[in-house]
Symmetry: C2
Subunit: 264 residues, 2 copies
């Protein structure tokens, strides 16, 4: 018995030593070129300034190797800047693989200010788990070619996510038929009038129909994106993203309407 205890103790010490030896300091994944660096002491990352965290190499490898959820951000000319940037920040921190798509690969102008080069055109964009549409210039931006493209991708898309008047794109593609939805506060009546088969709610932050999530205007996209992270990766992952972003007023599920409670 004594021998077994001693052997166990030796094994534990050896394991602890191996673990200690395997420990190192890493930058929280930030996509700034320092995610692959390894440090031997704590402190701020000399590359991006963030505080290094202690992990074993194995833990780090697991963290970095998880197959990411892919999100296609469709950005039309005139897209509202915070509409897409809020969810982009959330999904990126949550480890989702985000790429941008527009009608063509020509630069677009977000909100008349920010010149963006899309990663893909509609013609060559890869499939994605989540298709996301945003507001701004909704009537001009979502013409028949865009609507056809959404329909052509419907079968291979798991989740549809819209912020603000991005809901009009999904409405035109029939994705909101017989569903409950919301949009930007000044466009509630417009959405109702355009899509009579959709039950349109005002004064809600976002509506979850299972695989179709529509949010209210502009900053509400942050809440909707955190909700989608909670749904796909658990509430802790969403809480971590909110804390990292210092979006400290966020309360999980606050402002949520599940369409199950709302018969369209």
């Amino acid at each position: 018995m004594k021998a077994i205890i001693i052997l166990s103790l030796i094994a534990s010490v050896a394991l602890a030593q191996t673990k200690t030896k395997d420990l190192a300091y890493f930058c929280p994944p930030c996509h700034s070129g320092c995610d692959d660096l390894v440090f031997d002491k704590p402190g701020p990352c000399p590359h991006c300034g963030m505080t290094l965290a202690q992990q074993t190499h194995a833990e780090r490898k697991t963290e970095m190797s998880r197959k990411p959820i892919t999100v296609c951000f469709y950005l039309q000319d005139g897209v509202e800047v915070l509409d897409f940037a809020g969810p982009m920040e959330v999904f990126s921190y949550a480890g989702f693989n985000v790429f941008t798509v527009s009608k063509t690969k020509e630069p677009i102008l977000s909100q008349g200010i920010l010149k963006i080069l899309p990663d893909y055109s509609m013609a060559d964009a890869p499939a994605a788990d989540v298709m996301a549409f945003f507001g701004g210039n909704a009537s001009q931006g979502f013409d028949e070619s865009v609507v056809s493209w959404i329909k052509s991708r419907e079968k291979n898309t798991d989740y549809f996510f819209s912020v603000c008047t991005g809901a009009f794109a999904f409405g035109k593609a029939g994705i909101l038929d017989n569903k409950t939805a919301t949009t930007f506060h000044l466009s509630i009546e417009g959405l109702r009038k355009s899509f009579p088969k959709t039950k349109v709610l005002s004064d809600v932050r976002f509506v979850d129909n299972g695989n179709v999530i529509t949010t209210a205007g502009i900053s509400a996209g942050i809440d909707g994106a955190l909700h989608l992270v909670a749904k796909l990766k658990g509430e802790n992952a969403a809480k971590e993203a909110a804390a990292y972003m210092e979006y400290d007023k966020w309360v999980p599920k606050e402002g949520l309407v599940l369409s199950g409670n709302e018969k369209p």
Copy 2:
């Protein structure tokens, strides 16, 4: 006396009729190409979907002709997307004239995702009332050439505004010397260590030194930008922007530290 009353009444009716005749419907300024359109009845804007508002032509002209406050958004390669997009949304809605600057005019990659074409390089950027710096890739992004450029513009800049680790740029340029500041929660110690002449506060949303405003991380930039709008255009302008963006949890002055109360 009777004649005066009758004349006054006639004048009032004539004025009211002129005003009624001059009334029309306009889209809330959205920079989507419909700000110059005039409509004769209420409803959603056929261009962007927003609800049209009734104004006289004179009111509209005054609204559109105010000399805008200019804001230079310095975007380094690796800049965090929500850091700059939150303030960009706020300043844009408040009618500020926003433009982007980077070291060169080459495209930059925000957060490893979003490809952006800057409007100007450091060499040809016009002067601006507000100089704004943002976080992400702070150590690599703010080299000696950037720091010299900030110093060269100091005299012609009225306000310095940083979000997240953008504070490091101002720290390096000496703008934070003998001032109180804040930064991203994981970089508080780094800022303290790098700039011992600066009093660095943790657990605050933003710090206002009069003409130098530094905010905490990422989403805190929205609050700091609303604060600057309130400071320059009045609290109502900031409240309108917050309501438009559906940033309905915003409470004016919440999280503010005025450095007058904090001796560095």
